[in-house]
C-alpha cells in the first residue's frame, strides 16, 4: 500500500504535465508562443529597469520609436 502511495506521489508532477500536454495539443511549445512569452518578459524587464533607474534618479527619457 505504501508503495502505491509513493508511486502516486511520484506521478503527480507528470500527471500535471499530461494535463498541460492535452491542453496544448501536441504538448510542444510553438515558436509563436515562445516569442509571445519572450516579448512579454522583455516588456516587464524594460518597465522594471525604468522603475529602478527612476529610483536611482538616473532615468533617461525614452527615445521616440520610428
Amino acid at each position: 500500500m505504501t508503495a502505491i502511495v509513493q508511486l502516486i506521489a511520484a506521478l503527480a508532477p507528470t500527471v500535471t504535465n499530461l494535463i498541460l500536454h492535452l491542453k496544448n495539443g501536441d504538448g510542444s511549445t510553438t515558436i509563436v508562443a515562445m516569442l509571445s512569452a519572450a516579448d512579454s518578459a522583455n516588456a516587464t524587464n524594460a518597465a522594471n529597469l525604468a522603475a529602478f533607474q527612476t529610483a536611482l534618479g538616473t532615468a533617461v527619457p525614452a527615445k521616440p520609436t520610428t
Binding site: H21, A38, L49, F52
Partner: protein, 153 residues
C-alpha cells in the same frame, strides 16, 4: 499487489514517452528555434541581473554610480532584445541576411557588456558581490554570443 503496481508503472512509462515539456514544435527551423530560445534566455538573464543589482544596491554593497551603470547596460540589452524579438516574429527561417542583421543588432550591446564585466565593475570592492554581479552579466553575455554565432541557412 503486483498487478496493482503494474497500472501506475505503465501509465508512468506512457507519460514519459509522450510528454515533452518545454520542447519546440516538430518541423520548426532549428536555427530559428535556437535564436528564439536565446532571446528568451536574455530576458531571464536580464531579470536575474536586475534583481541581483537591486539587492546589492539596497544592501549598500554597490554605489549609485555602479548600479546606474549596470542598469543602463541592462536597459540597452533589453531594447536590443525587443528589436531582435520583433525581427524574429517575422521569420520562419534564419537567412544569412537575417543572421547578419541579428549580429549587427547584438554587437554593440555585447561590447558594452564585455566592457562592463571586464573593467566597469571596478567600483565593487566586496569580492562576493563582484562575483555575483559578474556571473549574472556573464550569463547574458554568453547568451548574446549564441545569437551572434548564428549563421543563416
Amino acid at each position: 499487489m503486483r498487478k496493482l503496481l503494474i497500472v501506475p508503472v505503465l501509465l508512468f512509462a506512457l507519460l514519459l514517452g509522450c510528454v515533452k515539456a518545454g520542447s519546440i514544435a516538430p518541423g520548426t527551423n532549428p536555427t530559428l528555434a535556437k535564436v528564439v530560445q536565446a532571446e528568451s534566455d536574455v530576458d531571464t538573464g536580464v531579470a536575474a541581473a536586475l534583481t541581483i543589482t537591486q539587492q546589492v544596491y539596497a544592501a549598500n554593497l554597490i554605489d549609485k554610480a555602479t548600479a546606474s551603470q549596470i542598469a543602463s547596460v541592462l536597459a540597452t540589452v533589453t531594447q536590443a532584445n525587443a528589436q531582435a524579438i520583433a525581427l524574429t516574429k517575422t521569420l520562419t527561417t534564419i537567412s544569412a541576411t537575417n543572421a547578419l542583421t541579428l549580429q549587427t543588432l547584438e554587437s554593440p550591446i555585447t561590447t558594452a557588456l564585455q566592457n562592463l564585466v571586464q573593467s566597469g565593475l571596478v567600483g565593487i570592492k566586496d569580492a562576493k558581490t563582484k562575483a555575483a554581479v559578474t556571473a549574472a552579466l556573464s550569463t547574458i553575455l554568453v547568451t548574446l554570443q549564441i545569437i551572434q554565432g548564428v549563421s543563416g541557412t
